[in-house]
Amino acid sequence: MAIATVAAAYAQAGLQINSIFGGKYCADSTVTETMMTGNQRFLKKHGLSTFATFKGPAAKFASVIQPLVLADGAHATGRNIRYSDGKLRYAFFILPSVERDGHRINRYLYYINSEGVRKPSVIVIYFEGRITPDKASALINTMPSNLKK
């Protein structure tokens, strides 16, 4: 029962991109990774249960992360993706929602490979919760300027 509860409590489990989180690259000085889960005030404010980001140099991580993002995106119910020179440059996926304690948990996955800029990097943003697609987009667009706990 405990195992089932754990699995249900963590909707990100089962996704390919889960393999880049969880501290796998915590010793890599080129990587920035964040993970918020549980009863954080920031999460509650935005109707979220998990928020995670990963940033690493494009040259090192694009080939690792692109297949994972595309594998998860293959099951998406909504998507916006762009390729350039045969590489995935931008992706936004609305992943299939999951049920937890009788409630629908919406899941969103963002990816960008900004190889054209001065410091090329790959960034993955994943979050899940009751948040609607419109509010998810608004959160990403306004969060840097409006971030409050």
């Binding site: 405990a2 509860t5 754990v6 409590a9 963590y10 989180f21 969880g22 501290g23 796998k24 690259y25 915590c26 010793a27 890599d28 000085s29 080129t30 990587v31 920035t32 990774e33 964040t34 993970m35 918020m36 889960t37 549980g38 009863n39 954080q40 005030r41 920031f42 509650k44 404010k45 109707g47 928020f51 980001t53 940033k55 762009r82 350039s84 440059r89 931008y90 937890r100 304690d101 009788g102 409630h103 963002y110 960008i112 900004s114 054209g116 800029v117 990097s121 960034i123 943003i125 990403i140 667009n141 969060m143 840097p144 971030l147 706990k149």
Partner: protein, 160 residues
């Protein structure tokens, strides 16, 4: 905050709870109300799920044994929540189990929520900058295509 609360007031408090506008003391009291209130509403069920409380059946008012069951269920729920939290984080975090707010920056671990929020904000700012640059690149590509489309739609393009 009164434990004998009516439904509209309770729903309003729940809204404030999700907006994080309750004081910690009021939030603590609200959790107590949510755990024991006889009121029924989907929002209350959802709050119980969010707060980690689960009730499987209604309890007769004034019954000591039933009251014990409620508190027992709450205690068991809290214990399970703690156990689940530890288990989830333990299996999920290889580097530092037991934390629900954590970051790794340049090989160092960060657990301060404010610092982590700033890191997240910076990552998203960089993400948005990347998206803007990608949009400009796409517009440049479209600029290259526009003359071709114009030519195709012009009189000088041979009719098929």
């Amino acid at each position: 905050m009164n434990d004998r609360i009516d439904l509209p007031t309770l729903l309003a408090l729940l809204e404030r709870y999700y907006e994080c506008s309750l004081s910690e003391e009021d939030e603590h009291r609200l959790r107590g109300i949510i755990a024991t209130t006889p009121l029924r509403h989907p929002a209350i069920d959802e709050a119980r799920a969010v707060m980690g409380f689960r009730r499987t059946h209604r309890v007769a008012k004034g019954s000591f044994a039933a009251g014990l069951k409620v508190y027992g269920a709450v205690a068991a729920g809290l214990a399970m929540l703690v156990a689940v939290g530890i288990t989830v984080q333990d299996s999920y975090r290889q580097c530092d189990p037991g934390l629900s707010c954590i970051a790794y920056v340049n090989g160092s671990e960060v657990t301060d929520e404010d610092v982590i929020l700033r890191i997240i904000s910076e990552d998203i700012r960089e993400f948005n900058d990347g998206v803007a640059a990608d949009n400009e690149s796409m517009l440049d590509d479209l600029d290259d295509i526009v003359p071709i489309i114009d030519f195709y739609e012009s009189e000088s393009f041979p009719k098929l």
